[in-house]
């Protein structure tokens, strides 16, 4: 019984990580219907960038990752803004193909450049023991401090993003542009700029997700596609158009995988995929679908 609670707990915390991966994708898809197949690779890129930044700050292992993350944030925003404004905006339109092919090409470029720079060996961001610390709960249950922090950050992200969308002028602009781009132009919005802002913010989320992921586990240049699929599944299960939905979707996926791993390590991820596909058949709009 206790081990089941432990599995559930681990699953929920894992789900927090998946929700973290998914937030950026939910934002971009929500605003401009862009599917970024390089999303997972950007998370890995952020992890490696965090790794290098942490080393170069020369600080103690306990502080370095956080400083690295802070340094990474403005770089990530600029990169996201620039990428959207100068490359991806041109690929948007009725046809999904150009954006898919371009982001697919980006994925290949990122994976191979990382491989050149860092070799195929997995790396991890040193955090001075933070990644192994744990908090003991009653009855012999324990939760890792880092996974717990990741979960809390995921919740904070969901709350923050939903607040951004619902209560701020920029959020209004995002929703307006996603509803009717041409009518928004009539109001004086420059959709190229608004889209670029959205991607910039999404990349902030990616930077946070990547650095935390790099602290939690070792990353290799080719890990990207797997993360893309998890993020995608979390968004679909939760329902498009709601960041809380994405959070819940991530948790459902995490718990599903944890249960699957319990039965057989080889089937964990498989089980997650199956539950996702089942959701797709019986409830395609997701658990909390908000969008039209």
């Amino acid at each position: 019984m206790l081990s089941w609670i432990d599995t559930l707990l681990q699953g929920v915390l894992l789900g927090g990580l998946y929700a973290l991966f998914a937030m950026g994708q939910a934002l971009i898809f929500g605003v401009m219907r862009l599917t970024n197949t390089a999303h997972g690779d950007f998370i890995i890129l952020a992890a490696f960038a965090g790794f290098s930044l942490a080393l170069s700050t020369g600080m103690t292992a306990a502080a370095a990752p956080w400083v690295a993350m802070a340094l990474l944030l403005p770089i990530a925003f600029a990169a996201g803004y620039g990428l959207q404004r100068f490359v991806l905006n041109d690929t948007l339109g009725r046809d999904p193909l150009p954006s898919l092919v371009v982001t697919f090409g980006l994925a290949i470029v990122i994976q191979n450049v990382l491989q050149e720079v860092y070799s195929a060996d997995p790396r991890s961001i040193e955090s001075g023991g933070f990644d192994t610390a744990s908090i003991a709960l009653s009855n012999g249950l324990a939760v890792g401090t880092l996974p717990l922090l990741i979960f809390c950050i995921a919740v904070a992200m969901a709350v923050g993003m939903q607040w951004l969308f619902d209560r701020t002028p920029i959020g209004r602009a995002f929703r307006a542009v996603s509803d009717d781009k041409d009518a928004a132009e009539l109001m004086g919005l420059d959709h190229r700029h608004v889209y670029a802002l959205a991607t910039g913010i999404a990349f902030l989320l990616v930077a946070v997700a990547g650095t935390l992921y790099g602290m939690k586990t070792t990353v290799a240049p080719t890990d990207g596609p797997a993360l893309l699929l998890f993020a995608f599944e979390a968004v679909i299960i939760g329902g498009m158009g709601s960041f809380y939905g994405t959070l819940v979707g991530g948790i459902v996926l995490g718990v599903t995988q944890a249960i699957g791993f319990r039965f057989d390590p080889g089937w964990g991820i498989w089980f997650g995929h199956i539950v996702f596909l089942t959701m797709l058949v019986f409830r395609p709009s997701g658990l909390f679908a908000k969008t039209r």
Partner: protein
């Protein structure tokens, strides 16, 4: 009101280029057919591999360029074709050559229930959803010890056959497969179903109002594409003799195919052919550069998609109005006889 003048018309499809091209193509195919008698076995193996890419690319192009369904998961059927061959050959003792088309059929049959799930999604999410499905197959076969699990196994059913015979037979099968896939796509696009599909690609709503059964047509295209992918997979592993889940269901199949089709020219029949030739040449000369070669391919795909969306062939065809595989129908008006 004067009565409408009598106008007689006919619908023409052939172009000068297509007639000339047809002759050249037949000559080329006949030449290729003689390969096993004199060509190097390395050349034949290269051709086998490129023929598989051509089949896979033709099908992906049919699905995405004509059908409007962009899939990143077609490797699912390629892998199913390969593993179908393995199961029939190794476990059930079938003649592997006979098993090839059956494996393709098997892939097509699996596509039927899969489509019920995949078609829930549209656009970009359809693309990633199909990738998830391919992953499900990969993980399933990786956990099936009977076929070698994660590390795969060899196709032992061909062990009794002398090498030269095996290579020749595989080569001819690949040649037939490649020609058949091109012919199949060409025939399909010239048919009523093909016209319906082009209409759907342009506007689903409009074509539905004209009586086109959108669902059935899209399903038909998806099934045909699955068959072709399965055929490519079965033929590839027939020649490769060794199969593993990572090789059979690798997303790299689709990645390279996207490159081939986009650079060759999407939405044309000549495009993937041009793309495969280019891909082969690039491979020959640059694959030694390893990761930088792949970076180059990725960048090329990005640039071509943004700057030359019609691809190499599409640009030429558009500029010079050149069509070797004419699919468009042209209305020829005949002058009414003078009274």
């Amino acid at each position: 009101m004067t009565s409408a003048p009598q106008v007689s018309y006919s619908i023409s499809r052939a172009t000068h280029a297509s007639r000339a091209g047809g002759a050249v193509a037949i000559a080329l195919i006949l030449l290729l057919a003689t390969f096993p008698f004199w060509a190097d076995s390395g050349w034949m193996r290269d051709f086998d591999e490129m023929a598989c890419y051509l089949m896979f690319a033709m099908m992906w192009n049919l699905l995405a360029g004509y059908g409007g369904m962009v899939s990143i998961g077609q490797q699912a059927y390629l892998g199913l074709g390969g593993y179908g061959l393995l199961v029939m050959g190794n476990l059930w003792g079938f003649n592997p050559f006979f098993a090839v088309p059956v494996a393709a059929l098997f892939a097509m049959l699996v596509a039927l229930p899969v489509s019920r799930v995949a078609f829930r999604l549209q656009g970009g999410y359809f693309a990633i959803g199909t990738w998830v499905i391919a992953e499900v197959f990969r993980l399933s076969f990786a956990n099936w010890s009977e076929v070698g699990g994660g590390s795969g196994t060899s196709l032992i059913a061909l062990q009794g056959i002398p090498k030269a015979t095996r290579q020749a037979a595989t080569f001819w099968f690949s040649l037939v497969g490649a020609v058949a896939s091109v012919a199949l796509v060409y025939w399909f696009l010239r048919s009523r179903q093909g016209l319906a599909m082009l209409a759907i690609r342009d506007s689903e709503v409009a074509s539905e109002s004209q009586g086109v059964n959108v669902r059935a047509t899209k399903l038909g295209v998806y099934l045909v594409a699955a068959f072709g992918a399965g055929l490519a997979g079965a033929l590839y592993f027939l020649g490769n003799l060794r199969i593993s889940p990572d090789a059979a269901f690798s997303v790299n199949w689709t990645a390279f195919t996207i490159f081939i089709v986009m650079i060759g020219g999407i939405g044309t029949i000549e495009g993937p052919i041009v793309g495969v030739v280019l891909f082969y040449l690039l491979n020959r000369f640059f694959s030694d550069y390893g990761t930088w070669y792949l970076v180059g391919l990725g960048l090329l795909a990005i640039v071509v998609t943004i700057k030359f969306p019609r691809g190499l062939w599409g640009y030429v065809a558009h500029r010079y109005d050149l069509h070797f595989f004419p699919v468009q129908r042209r209305l020829l008006l005949h002058e009414p006889p003078t009274k």
